[in-house]
Subunit: 239 residues, 2 copies
Amino acid sequence: MQSRTPVSRAGRPRSAAADAAILAATRAALVELGWSKLTLSDVALRAGVAKTTLYRRWAGKNELVVDAVAELFDELALPDRGSLAADVEGVVLQFAAILARPEARSGLMAVVAEATRDDALRERIRGSIVERQKRLVLAGRARAQARGELPADPDPERAARTADLIFDMVAGAVVHRTLVSAQPADGPWVTALTHVLLHGLTTPSRPPEPDTTATTRPTDPPPTATSRPTEPDTTATSQ
Amino acid sequence: MQSRTPVSRAGRPRSAAADAAILAATRAALVELGWSKLTLSDVALRAGVAKTTLYRRWAGKNELVVDAVAELFDELALPDRGSLAADVEGVVLQFAAILARPEARSGLMAVVAEATRDDALRERIRGSIVERQKRLVLAGRARAQARGELPADPDPERAARTADLIFDMVAGAVVHRTLVSAQPADGPWVTALTHVLLHGLTTPSRPPEPDTTATTRPTDPPPTATSRPTEPDTTATSQ
DNA sequence: GGTATTACGCTACGAGCCGTAGCGAAAGCG
DNA sequence: CGCTTTCGCTACGGCTCGTAGCGTAATACC
């Protein structure tokens, strides 16, 4: 992550256990305190190490949190559910489950925000998280093309752009739904997302569901579980 | 925003000019310093007001930045370009232009990150920014349905969910593209996004070069010369 | 086993920001 | 003209930051 051991140098080696303890303590602190109230002194205390040890390994809060959050996304895997739509839904649900965890929510968005003014940090995020998970898109596309569900794209560069687009759409939608709209990315929502992604808005929803009532009505996902918290907000200032 | 004036109370009224100066100063500070290094003392200095005045109007950094950023999004408008695809592209390009501004980038994501641990702040964001701009989705859908480009949805609740989904997909994709992938949401990209949104991945966008000019008409930008903004980066990972 | 080298824990420190309190003065309202 | 509220200013305790210095612990090399 932050230390690549070129060869074994002389002297006392760094404790790998301390690394794990620090990253775990960082996630715990993110859960309890969130980004802005998280202090490195507190993380050091939780991890049972000295504050100076933290500064010897990470340049600051940003880099530490990136590494702590990146570990969360390594558990993503591409299931084989038999169809492209099912595969997409499976991955999106996994991604949503990770984003439902508070340490991922506050940590990820905060470092992304910081990365807008720090090129090195942004590259760290891209290398540690984004590029590492783009494999899911590539594998899913390849499998779907093998199944004949997606047209093969002979142009490799164009295919790369499409993969980037898919990643931005899927990851962005889940993040926005979870963090901004503050609603769960649950089964029905993921189904609707997948449908738009594969067939677009102009194609009516899937026809299964030998209905009980509708004639023209395309089936729709069951009603969402959680209702919306409609909180009045005073907005008055324009300019 | 933070104070709704029920009626004109007695006493010296708050300076509206100070409000504008403070919000402008906040945006300027966001550009120069970013979120984490922004201090309220600095904002007060830039705005030419006392620090205590800031605290009399806003509870803290979070609320101040939300209001400062919210003003940026009020300039969004739905153009009438004659077709749904063109309308969508127009709005998305406007949104991308706003997100290209550094004060929007760092400020918006930072408050979203903070909102993960602050329900009141999240509602403030939703009320001040998100819900206020969802009108674009509703208006665009209505116009497209009037044109016959989209099927009308008789179920209002289902229509609302679809509008939410569209908003999450579009806003999320632009945000992810701009802030995480760190690539411009420019014309070609927006065109591809719009195509997937309307027709899905299973519909091939442009056949691999059947003839000279593409068949699909409205606003068809050339395939572009694949600008790769690969930026050099140190990624000097630690000792 | 001895020595060099590095990591670690601990303490202490100046610097900066936070958020609040108190004061006198200024600016509208009736 | 009083009354009420805001404004600018100063000051303050409290907190966190990031670094320096020191003695100690753990390993590699000879």
